[in-house]
Amino acid sequence: MTATSPAKTRSGPHLVLLTVYAIFVLAAGARSLVQVFTAFDEAPIAYSLSVVAAATYVAGWFAIRRAAAGSAGFAKIMLWIELAGVVVVGVLSLAVPSWFPDDSVWSKFGSGYGFVPALLPILGLLWLWKVNPKETDESADSNRHLA
């Protein structure tokens, strides 16, 4: 059982997730570096949030790698943080546009990137739920027991 688990996780949808995360590390990282070093004063909040987004994608990439190797705890936390970030920044960019004279990576729910930033954590969480349904059921059971 223990011997087959790593083989099972070697290939799978997480490979595509890792690729997209790597692309976003590159895209968000390069964008935030250019924004911070060339025009930070123009939109400090938006550009700082771009740095946060880039850091989140780096952490997300490592989290998915760890989850594919069997340790899903960090990935669960990171993906929820990422989803919360996209939603909060998306709502703020629409509600308080004066804070965002220029777009950050997560502005308008990632519309500048075809809404992939909003889809990515959702797909990641769906993948986690699919590869670890037992764990999710067990935690649901224990919650029910506690209630």
């Binding site: 290939s11 490979l15 595509v16 690729t19 590159l26 250019v34």
Partner: protein, 118 residues
């Protein structure tokens, strides 16, 4: 329409074709065929041609709005597909086609961005 813009459209269109072909492999749950690698390398050659054309335009006096953004896009355009193919070198599984699809889609998007910022 100048030559570089035309090459840019060809790269974007061909990238869309590679993306669809690779996604088809995922949908059909087939192992990654050898020909997919070949069409992906063809996309890489086209991307290099576009990068050279864009660099030639820049050296001939064309001024991009942001030089760092322009050069960053060129780097990404040329590096994405070889990195994806290298990472999946020993993995011929269905999902390795998904990786090629993601890299091809990103290459197409970057090609369009290169045309916009050059």
């Amino acid at each position: 329409m100048d030559a570089v813009t035309l090459i840019g459209f060809i790269v974007a269109g061909y990238a869309a074709f590679v993306t669809i072909a690779a996604l088809l492999g995922v949908v059909l749950k087939a192992p990654r065929p050898k020909w997919l690698d070949q069409v992906a390398w063809m996309l890489e050659i086209l991307a290099v041609v576009l990068a050279i054309g864009a660099l030639a335009g820049w050296s001939a006096g064309r001024k991009p709005e942001s030089l760092s953004t322009f050069l960053g896009y060129l780097g990404a355009l040329v590096c994405l597909m070889p990195l994806a193919l290298q990472t999946m070198r020993t993995d011929r599984s269905t999902w390795s086609s998904g990786v090629i699809a993601a890299a091809a889609l990103a290459t197409g998007v970057v090609a369009v961005r290169v045309m916009m910022v050059r």
